[in-house]
């Protein structure tokens, strides 16, 4: 008699379902971003080197025009945070487009796990891997340009940072769903969303320099309020240059975190159905 158990595996193996399956999916999708990303040393080097070039250029611009030294600190912090924005653009929003190009998207849809868990894994993995790079940029920039920090409250700082990340990656999950419908234009849209966001979100200067309504509109990007709050918490002149108080910004970030993550789950479900109906999951329109 043929021993089927050696072919099919032990019959008593427990299948993961529900929450366990989702958790395993999150870990599995986060794994390549956390572990795999560190294996390619050139990525680690360029992920720190490229933002440092931009940081250095803007630091020297500020020094050339005689800016106060804390503006150098603003640039270093802003430069570190650009790593997260680029990760959201290229590794969250555009990720499903890359998967479609490589033929993995259909496999994700066919697998018995939820797409939301996959996106969550991407978000968590991206957050962790990018966090290492952002920390490297921050430390390098601070040492190179002699930036001094005076943290008012570590608890508030940690809260602001985590809420900013949750809201930001929630937004990334929303746009990842939207990009399910796109093809080659996805690359161009992500490319377009770099400099304009650096400008309106005040990566390199206080957002309070803009009028109230422009700054308020820009606050839809979580990094706008997150950066503003971080600057108020780590630089002595931060509060004087802040847009809103730290408390108000924390509350706004809480609301954004909830809204973006919930919206992401609805958008994903709706847009997945739409993409399946219109046959966009496997198209490769170059």
């Amino acid at each position: 008699m043929v021993d089927h158990s050696s072919v099919l595996g032990p019959i008593s193996a427990k299948k993961s379902t529900g929450f366990r399956l989702s958790l395993k999916t999150v870990v599995a999708r986060a794994y390549p971003r956390v572990i795999g990303a560190q294996r390619e040393k050139s990525w680690m080097f360029f992920d720190v080197f490229l933002p440092m070039l931009a940081v250095s250029a803007y630091v020297f611009v500020y020094r050339a025009i005689g800016a106060p030294e804390e503006y150098v600190g603003f640039v270093v912090v802003g430069g570190a945070m650009t790593a997260f924005w680029l990760n959201v653009l290229w590794s969250m929003s555009s990720q499903l487009y890359w998967e479609k190009e490589q033929g993995n998207l259909a496999l994700y849809i066919m697998a018995p796990n939820s797409m939301m868990a996959i996106l969550l894994g991407m978000a968590l993995g991206g957050m962790l891997a990018t966090g290492l790079r952002a920390a490297a940029i921050l430390i390098l920039g601070s040492l190179l340009f002699d930036v001094q920090f005076q943290v008012v409250s570590f608890v508030q700082l940690f809260t602001v940072f985590m809420l900013t990340m949750i809201a930001l990656y929630g937004m990334g999950m929303m746009s990842a769903s939207l990009f399910l419908l796109l093809s080659r234009e996805a690359w161009h849209l992500s490319n377009l969303a770099q400099e304009p966001i650096y400008l309106v979100s005040g990566f390199y200067f206080p957002i309070s320099s803009f009028s109230f309504w422009i700054a308020a509109a820009a606050s839809i990007i979580p990094l706008t309020l997150g950066l503003d709050a971080i600057r108020q918490l780590v630089f002595p002149t931060g509060p004087a240059l802040g847009f809103l108080t730290v408390r108000v910004e924390i509350m706004a970030l809480v609301v954004m975190s909830v809204v973006f993550v919930v919206a992401a789950s609805y958008m994903l479900a709706h847009l997945e159905k739409l993409a399946i109906r219109e046959g966009r999951l496997t198209e490769s329109r170059r």
Partner: protein, 300 residues
Amino acid sequence: MSSTGVASPGEDIDSRVSGRGLWRSFRTASWLGWQIESNWTDPFLFAIYSFIKPISAAAILVVMYGIITQGDFESPIFTYMYLGNAFYIYVGAVMAGVSWAVIDDREHYKTLKYMYVAPINIPMYLFGRGVAKFIVGSISVFITVVFGMLFLHLNIELTAVNWPLFFIALIIGVVMLALMGLILAGVTLLIAHHVWFLGEAVAGALYLFSGAIFPLEVLPPAIRWIGYIIPITYWLELIRRALVGSVAEAFPTLSNLSNGQILGILIGLTIFFGVLSVFVFRWAEKQARERGLIDMVTNY
């Protein structure tokens, strides 16, 4: 030539290196590059895309400058910074654009091997692929400069511009950037797709060391010398002198050199990089053929 009009073996000219062959390779690649750059969306959205990106990049510097100097846009440092930033768009467009064509064709469209099989000249093909980026870059530069003149009091008197110097410097600069792009293209032939940021990294490094947005004197002395061996430094200086002569006098970096001397240095460095690009690209191409990398697909 035989009566059928077909060249006999002894008379066969390699069309890849003949004048007509070079022009054909360049012309066809230019057309192809433009199709790729522009046909992903309708013209209106493409126009918005071409407008928003350069204006936003310039606006970051303008806002930074405006905050610190309380809006002193009459100062020569603003003109220096703005023009340098505007024309630096060509560096990313042309230099990175020529090298990007290797990745685009090899990894995305998987047609590079067919290019090598076709009767075209590969370096001219790569230059042609850079033409579309040059056109888009030119539009961006034009929009940025006009925006500065109209809304930011950018001090350019059209009647006072040294147009011959401007166009000569521009043409030499674009050729210089294309040749540097060929060097990068050669290196790109040998490396995996995930090093798409090579062009960006080099452009970013040159941004820092070429005095594009701040005078070289701001750099620490230990690294300032790098700016003096980069042709882009002299190119941008010539462009500024052609457009707004008085700006150059406000900064000591190259003030002891005349226009003719700077032009001579730029031409000399362009020739140097031209020769270097030929050797580097030939060597890299040979390595890529021997190691079977022409049709490499890395899928990172």
